[in-house]
Symmetry: C2
Subunit: 423 residues, 2 copies
């Protein structure tokens, strides 16, 4: 039995009862002979409450002090969890991100882990302790200041520790049973995925699936750490994410892993752009200089009569104002006609490594949307993903139609298998 890293999110430790339930689960793993390192988030809404307090005392809380504030949340949950484990008769020690050796860069509020030096954790577990580590936080290499990793950072802490400690698996405990073929709140017939590759999971995360964050999966893939996403409530087997399935991991012989959707984006259309070299570059340099992250980009065919074209792109709604302002300021130099801003859009994505070798997937996807009466506004593809933008109102219909068309519904006999090598 090797070393297991377990991560529990805020909803799993929302109150004293939750902490006691989680403590029992951790002790179970220890009793089964594992060395156990636990990464824990702040309790329930603690982080949001701290942010609210910060906003009350300061108009734009940020930086070093904001990180110092937020890290109090995990300090509370980790200490309580260690106490709860001790009261079950097992030895536990809690460690801040800094004590656990989570070294980051100096970008406060969204620091990146650059190294993990888990000497104290290793000593603690070798002495028979269960080690409890604060998620979401680290200490900067320069200046030794407390940093936070940004939302969802606890998952990354867990994977990074698992890599540094050469763990057998990183278990991410959450309030759902695993990764599903679509959001179960939208598609009742969505199925839990037993195993999924890092690549497909990365595309799902990039396409709006919220179960695992992109950065965490990326880290796990780089260090080849299998992730097991599962519920802290049910104790059922969840979804394994890894390079290759093990013998006991059921792999659907489908070309599609799942359908993801995202309603957090908006669309900006730059209307009447002179169709000549350098115009698109000027637009996207403006956007980049404003530090706005864009997602899909589409340029329409130029109307021959005018020599003008339209360029559309999507971006997080939260950054819409910033992008519009930047473009307006650059209007004289770029020379477009007008801007259109639309935040009533949804992105629907179909993800699966199998589609590389299955030319019919794109057609099937569009047909399913067409049959459901859903209009497509933008299209973007990668080797293992197709994404389209539709009206926000259409998103639930669209996701259900596509999920069903590709045989992912849980009452389907079998998933659709196109010709080719799709496994």
């Amino acid at each position: 039995m090797g070393l297991v890293v377990q991560k529990y999110g805020g909803s799993s430790v929302a109150d004293a009862e939750g902490i006691k339930r989680v403590a029992k689960r951790i002790v179970e793993a220890k009793k089964n002979g594992h060395q156990v390192v636990v990464v824990v988030s702040a309790m329930g809404d603690t982080t949001d409450e701290l942010i609210e307090l910060a906003e009350q005392v300061s108009p734009m809380p940020a930086g070093r002090e904001f990180d110092m504030l937020l890290t109090a949340g995990e300090r509370i949950s980790m200490a309580l969890l260690a106490m709860a484990i001790k009261s079950l008769g097992h030895q536990a020690q809690s460690f801040t991100g800094s004590q656990a050796g989570v070294i980051t860069d100096s970008v406060h509020n969204k620091a990146r882990i650059i190294d993990v030096t888990p000497g104290r954790i290793r000593t603690s577990i070798d002495e028979g302790n269960i080690a409890i580590v604060a998620g979401f936080q680290g200490v900067s290499q320069e200046g030794k200041n407390i940093t936070t990793l940004g939302r969802g950072g606890s998952d990354t802490t867990a994977v990074a520790l698992a890599a540094a400690l050469d763990a057998e698996v990183c278990e991410i405990y959450t309030d759902v049973d695993g990764v599903f073929t679509a959001d179960p709140r939208v598609v009742k017939k969505a199925k839990k995925i037993d195993w999924i590759s890092f690549e497909d999971m990365l595309e799902l995360a990039a396409s709006g699936s919220k179960v695992l964050l992109h950065r965490c999966v990326e880290y796990a893939r780089r260090y080849n750490i299998p992730i097991h996403v599962r519920s802290s409530f049910s104790g059922l087997r969840g979804t394994w994410v890894s390079n290759e399935p093990r013998g006991d991991q059921q792999v659907e012989h489908a070309i599609i892993s799942g359908v993801a959707h995202d309603v957090s984006e908006a669309k900006i259309t730059v209307v009447g752009v002179p169709d000549k070299p350098g115009e698109a570059a000027a637009i996207f340099r403006t956007i980049a200089d404003a530090e706005v992250n864009i997602d899909m980009v589409v340029q329409n065919v130029s109307a021959a009569s005018t020599g003008l074209t339209d360029i559309s792109f999507t971006l997080p709604k939260a950054e819409g104002r910033k992008a519009i302002d930047a473009l307006e300021r650059s209007k004289p130099t770029i020379g477009f006609e007008s801007l259109r801003y639309d935040d009533q859009i949804a992105k629907i994505s179909l993800v699966g490594a199998g589609m590389k070798t299955n030319p019919g997937v794109t057609a099937g996807f569009f047909e399913a949307l067409s049959d459901a009466g859903v209009n497509i506004e933008l299209i973007s593809t990668s080797e293992i993903r197709i994404s389209v933008v539709t009206r926000a109102d259409d998103v639930n219909n669209a996701v259900r139609a596509v999920h069903s068309a590709f045989g992912l519904d849980s009452d389907s006999d079998e998933a659709v298998v196109y010709g080719g090598t799709g496994r």
Copy 2:
């Protein structure tokens, strides 16, 4: 203008408004040309709420994890305070006890400061920052674990930092205007003391005055750091505690500094102790082994007919059970007749360096109590203090009578000055 250490208690930073008010006061000191180091407690009831959470997950929370938990409280208040100062346009940095170099022994939950190495604080203030330090916490010399100093520990943090940084003064901001000649809730005519010596303040603290804790005053006396106790609400000048008054500090020419009272103690009487050598030693060895702190001790005159005597002592009510249990277990070896436990007592103390040279003080004290119809049960004296134990019900009457008899009432023309050298 030198360096000032300011300490703000939980009631001063109970909410966002309080934090903003305190931030303004701190910035004021900085604008006046001081270097400013601020020690802050947890917001309002935060510490109590964390203790309650701990009790919900663990039957007897204690030790390392409990300290880790409690220190989250100051982390929140110090970060918010630093943000609030920044939003006023001044530079501030917050530091945990560990970052501030507060080194303690390894006794979790009531650690003692053994050294302060304020290198980071010094650098921070020399760079023009206001340094905000978490009170009540430190890091153990061995093991580098987070420790807490026990209730009231933030005052000690402030004095210890003031000593290490060679500050001009340690300002303790609280919710009262200073140290009074008696508890103003009991004696409406109590007067604020303008200046008081370390010695008298130590005796007042030991006798039940809650404004400053004994350990903090002791530390200030050892390193000769003047303390200025004042209100964070009114901004008025408060009480200076130091070795010698400065020219602008008003010294009452009275022999008495104040009247303190304490209703937190109980009395145990060991009845029928054989009046022979070694008996008292056996009793107090038993008490000491049970780690119970005792206060006053009185042995009655032995009754010649029986050769037996009674020994009474007072102790914190919270330790009554422990003391009784320990004595009952030792009854066979010690050989007393019975135990009486009484928690309906009060201790009233008169404190003043002048009484050393004024033989009339004791008589005046007893006369005042007698005139008020208050019966005296135990008496104990030091060079600058007289304490008596009375019925708990009598405490308010007794304190008022003594306060008035010694001319401390605010409508008195002058304090009573006995013959002798009383200043």
